[in-house]
Amino acid sequence: MTAAIVSLDHVNKWYGPHHVLQDVSLEIGKGEVVVICGPSGSGKSTLIRTINALEPIRDGKLLLNGVDVHGKGTDLNKLRQSVGFVFQQFNLFPHMSVLDNVTFAPIRIQKRPRAEAEALARELLAKVGLAEKADSFPGFLSGGQQQRVAIARALALQPPVILFDEPTSALDPEMVGEVLQVMKSLARDGMTMVCVTHEMGFAREVGDRIVFMDQGRIVVDTTPELFFDAPDHPRIKRFLSDVKGEH
């Protein structure tokens, strides 16, 4: 494997008495698409939120591009510019136009020239199929469109890695496809992606690895083929039949 972009080394996290991440170790290489799945409450969100320090950790080491994310002197604002994050609830800024949402980070955080930032933003919006919505407001967009804008916003700083926390779980079924389409095209472009998702079709098609979590632990870290065709863990079998049952 090439040098890891993300590396977790025996990471532990507690919420009060609740041990939500138990000794989690994980390496994610450049260009890899890693799908994290597991039952609700197993710690998937918590795990990817520790990668950009939206959540602190108790102990262990977490490196992002070689930088100690939870180290004392780490400049988090700078670090977070090199990792995109896509939320389940989109979290677009409702008081800004679509274009302003996408240029927010380049212009307001990195102080790049507006013209340059807008050109890139329009390019990204075209890539997610929403070029014509640049001047619209999030309030006029469907859930699927909002999530695609959110992906464009996360890409605006051209981060080497992007994290997705159940990006399609808040969507009506007919809109799931359009978001997955965008994610698949990103994966094909060689983007490093960590996706928490229950979309097993997506996992099988573009995932390089499947990480299965249960009760704060990584139970299995394997290839899609092995995961789907020969699940060798009773917990995974149950999970797979539960996920199928959803559809």
Binding site: R80, F137, P138
Partner: protein
């Protein structure tokens, strides 16, 4: 009543000006606008402090707000009237005394309204801004406050209206404003207090009503533009 308006409309509007000091509605507006302009940033500061993660900052701002809210405005005006000269060593005019008292008083009420607005912003908004690498201050300034202030615009409008009406308390420290002008007119006419003070009430009402309708129209048009209706 029409006669009173015909004879005294200029006094209602600008007091004795230009033969005497500026007063009437003009002075009421000046006091109100100044107080609002000065209290608004202070209120935002107090609200942000009360929503901060720093305990001592939350406590200090809560003390200020609760202290000011616990005293009647009239007391605060008297207090400023006597204390500001002692503290600063200058004789301060009734005008500035009133503006200071209103600023302090309204800032504390307004800060509570704004604090509620800040609390109403979903955590995901802050997380989105922080996840892009935005600093705490940038997030507050560009993501939280614009939405928070907009969400509580009706509450903010109420405080602005209160401020306008409270300028009438300037009367007790002889600030030459609208109520003061009405009283002067009343003293000249002697026999028609009901009419004079009805006109006064109507002027206050129209002012407050127009402000509230204006702000609510602006709010609606912004909501429509943003697809939030």
């Amino acid at each position: 009543m029409l006669e009173i308006i015909q004879d005294y409309w200029l006094t209602f509007l600008i007091g004795q000006y230009p033969n005497g000091p500026l007063g009437g509605l003009a002075m009421t507006l000046i006091v109100a606008v100044l107080s609002i302009l000065m209290s608004f940033p202070i209120a935002i500061g107090l609200a942000v402090a009360r929503s901060s993660t720093w305990r001592w900052l939350r406590l200090a701002s809560a003390c200020v707000v609760n202290f000011v809210r616990g005293i009647p405005l009239l007391m605060l005006i008297f207090w400023c009237y006597f204390v500001i000269p002692i503290m600063t060593g200058y004789a301060v005019s009734g005008f500035w005394t009133l503006v200071c008292a209103l600023t302090i008083y309204e800032a504390s009420y307004l800060s509570e309204v704004i604090r509620a607005g800040i609390a109403s912003i979903p955590k995901g908004q802050t997380e989105a801004a922080r996840s892009l690498g935005g600093s705490y201050m940038l997030t507050v300034r560009s993501v939280v406050l614009p939405q928070a202030l907009f969400n509580v615009l009706p509450g903010i409008t109420s405080q602005f209206i209160s401020t306008i009406k409270e300028t009438s308390l300037g009367y007790v420290i002889a600030v030459n404003e609208l109520t003061f002008a009405a009283n002067q007119i009343n003293n000249q006419l002697l026999t028609q207090p009901l009419q004079v003070f009805t006109i006064l009430a109507v002027i206050y009402f129209l002012l407050c009503f127009l402000l509230s309708r204006g702000l609510s129209a602006i709010e609606t048009s912004i909501r429509r533009k943003r697809g939030l209706l």
